[in-house]
Amino acid sequence: MLSDLYVFGDSLLHRARPLIKILALVVFCTGLFLFDHWAVIAIAGLMVAAGFAVAGLRPHHGVAALRPAFWILVAIFAVQVWLADLALATFIISRFALLILAASLVTLTTTAGEFVDGIEAGLKHAPGWVPKTRIALAISLTLRFIPLVRSVLIEVRQAQVARGLERNITALLVPVVVRTLKHADETAQAIQARSFD
């Protein structure tokens, strides 16, 4: 029900630690914004292409990553051509495409589980005031609550359709929120009863 965007593989990029990949992404993106030059775009383009090749990803993965932003990018391109010139418009759109593709490179080669493990490993070294166990609890509770909220949403919707209230969103959301809040309270009591604190 809840699958991540991971593409299976065993490349250097797949095996790299999530933290390293995120740091590399941050450096990459900062670099793209810091050095406003065509040469930087070209180098970055080669780097992203090399990354896709090393990770064994196909062009359709890149297309899928760019598709959600497609119409916004078209709009920005049109505005830039109209207000500035074709060169700036192309520059801006190429930079967006590279940022999105570089980010998708991290997402496609890392499972959500590896990220969660990475977060937990990172928390081990966090200073004492960071509520480490609470953060880990919150993440795992959210992953448990997502299917719960979805099933409550479907149940309440069916009940309201039976009452002829299918177009009334307030009549849908209020029972969903109240029911899941009650469930959350029971969950909190169950956790407290097991001396989590």
Binding site: L137, F145, T170, L173
Partner: protein
């Protein structure tokens, strides 16, 4: 912060995720699809209050960033923050905080008009105050151009504020979480 707060934060992060699969409603006149997800931002602030609401958004965005497809259309991963509209996502945190803080201030006299004003201020004005300059900066366009490009979404956001305000006021009576 006790266990109950942690559980509520996790719950509203999950509600955000569940609202992404809610079928989008397309406004008849202008044809812009509105998704239910930004109602989740208003509900998190208006039901949980400032800190818990904002932390629920941080948790939700963390799960999006690590690649879970929790945004409408099954989007997720770091790429969504790199795109032009990343500011609207980051703005969820501030938006939920402002809505939560204002709701806490007006908790005892929270009526539908007050809740609506809070949702419009925190859910629309604050969100656009983060999202529009973000687009303007990363796309190198003037803030005014970016704002006019976003205007098509305002009617949908007003509809969502009306719904969220109604839900916040009703949940306050039925199952109040903010206690002051």
């Amino acid at each position: 912060m006790d266990t109950r707060d942690t559980v509520f934060i996790a719950l509203f992060a999950a509600i955000m995720a569940a609202l992404a699969v809610f079928p989008p409603i397309t406004l008849p006149v202008i044809g812009v699809p509105i998704t239910a997800q930004s109602m989740g931002v208003m509900l998190a602030g208006g039901v949980l209050g400032a800190w818990r609401g904002a932390l629920a958004m941080v948790l939700f965005l963390t799960l999006v960033a690590i690649g879970l497809p929790l945004l409408p259309g099954g989007r997720g991963g770091f790429g969504v923050f790199m795109g032009p509209t990343g500011g609207f996502l980051v703005g969820f945190v501030l938006s939920a905080f402002v809505i939560g803080w204002l709701t806490e201030q007006f908790w005892h006299s929270l009526s539908f008009p007050v809740a609506l004003a809070i949702c419009l201020g925190g859910g629309v004005v604050v969100l656009y105050a983060v999202g529009v300059p973000w687009i303007a900066t990363v796309a190198k366009i003037s803030p005014l151009t970016a704002l006019s490009g976003s205007l098509a979404f305002i009617p949908g956001d007003i509809v969502k504020s009306v719904i969220a305000a109604g839900v916040i006021v009703t949940v306050r009576r039925a199952y109040p979480i903010i206690t002051r």
